[in-house]
Amino acid sequence: MRQAIDVSIGGVQEMKPLDKVMQKMAEHKGCGMSAGSGKASCGSAAGQGDLAPEVWEKVKNHPCYSEEAHHHYARMHVAVAPSCNMQCNYCNRKYDCANESRPGVVSEKLTPQQAVRKVLAVASAIPQMTVLGIAGPGDPLANPEKTFKTFELISKVAPDIKLCLSTNGLALPDHVDTIKNLNVDHVTITINMIDPEVGAEIYPWIFYKHRRIKGREAAKILAERQLQGLDMLTERGILCKVNSVMIPGINDRHLVDVNKAVKSRGAFLHNIMPLISSPEHGTVFGLTGQRGPSAQELKGLQDSCEGQMNMMRHCRQCRADAVGLLGEDRSAEFTTEKIMEMDVNYDADTRKAYQQMVEQERRSKVAARQGGLSQVTGETSDIRVLVAVATQGLGRINEHFGHAREFQVYELSTGGAKFVGHRRVDLYCRGGYGEKDSLPTVIRAINDCHAVFVAKIGGCPRGELIQAGIEPVDRYAHEFIEQSAIAWFKGYLDRVKRAEIRHTARGDADIRQGAYVVA
């Protein structure tokens, strides 16, 4: 079973039935919770960065918009919007696998009334769930009645929950005023191109004004509607993030132009994601063998756009019915059947008190980070290296190498430690791999890293990592990620200086494709 991060502060435990989670919550209410030393960190751009204060105020608790918040605050998606108004070559609505975790796939659809019940159930069990999103599995704005009814009902019963939606943008200009009137905080638009020639290779058709329109004409209408919608939202002060799927050979270079276009129209965050494409998904790209980007290709594009605007690096490309912290999915605990039986007690005060505890944690974490950064002052070197970190969260190196389902990747330089992404290494849906067999897969996923930081590691993987040129580092077990990484990096620079080791560039790494095993 895939390990899930317990939402309670100060501990990471095996996924457990909901009643135990609820019981734990109840205990916490009584004992007042020890704030503990658990901290999470996610890179140097974790804070306000160059965001305007009013923007930071809006995003600081949003796990998808604030790199740092995603360790502390959870989100949920409700799958009330099954219809779509267009076809993308990376999407296949027919595919349905319970083990699949990617956009456009859900296990069950909800009515707006069921969605409200689910939101209240999750909000009661996970008090740091602060954001409700509607992201499909189709397009929220191709289902405007269901989407807006859901928002309307939620804002009545749980006004503290922020609302957001994610759309392809085709219908967006028609609904901007409704979005504004319903106090939707954030909108994400998926924009993969602004040039219809590029778009024709990504979108076979759109359904617009009662017609199925194909090719260049379809892409031209789509791009115009997306940018018009973005303009209209930013004019009204609604925060906009832009998602782009990086498709090598089709839109990879073009996304730099997309980045400029959306930046100039006021998007505050750009999230460039790797194409997910496997033949077993049955998508056009999966069947034509269109590959996704390598880790270095993705990072290179993100880096080249970063001067333009804030880039999002922590996206986990979650499902339209995901529940929990990013990178975990607790939706199986909140099926329609289960939420109907749950004793839901939505208590705004308890939620607020819990969130205040979370804020305390965040503040102490920031202090810890600052302590770490001072360690590289005085050093001058052009050397930059990537390191992978096995963590269960809380900002610490606290995961066994063999248990890691994901590694966080940090770029180290004399400027500090910067979070630049994550690498999934969980097992493939098609199954059959033992830990031994999966080791080469893990190594390929972090092959661009000079070191991997772990709480513990066995002798066999240790040897194979060293052979692959990746240094396993376990001497910082359970310590803070950034401080440890900087301390190690300082030692690395010293060793290079003393000519004990020679600094060499690493190769590229794979981005995992396909579903992962959840049970």
Binding site: S83, K94, P137, R211, R212
Partner: protein, 74 residues
């Protein structure tokens, strides 16, 4: 003739239901069906049959040869 929905192909995404100018489409047993007596193939409303145009799965909304050709009344 009227259109029909191939049950094994239907993903129950409901995209067709609101597009039908005749309210001929409804959910039944987890997928959607077209009431043949109500279907006009969108003749007189749109150039393309709307269910076919919006359906995300090819060859799901197809002509039902068993139903006589729709005759527009005046």
């Amino acid at each position: 003739m009227a259109y029909k929905i191939v049950k094994s192909q239907c993903t129950a995404c409901a995209a067709c239901e609101p597009e039908c100018p005749n309210n001929a489409i409804r959910e039944k047993d987890g997928t959607f069906i077209i009431k043949p007596e109500k279907c006009t193939e969108c003749i007189g409303y749109f150039d393309d049959p709307q269910c076919v145009a919006v359906c995300p799965v090819e060859n799901t909304c197809i002509i039902d040869a068993a139903c006589p050709r729709y005759q527009a009344t005046a």
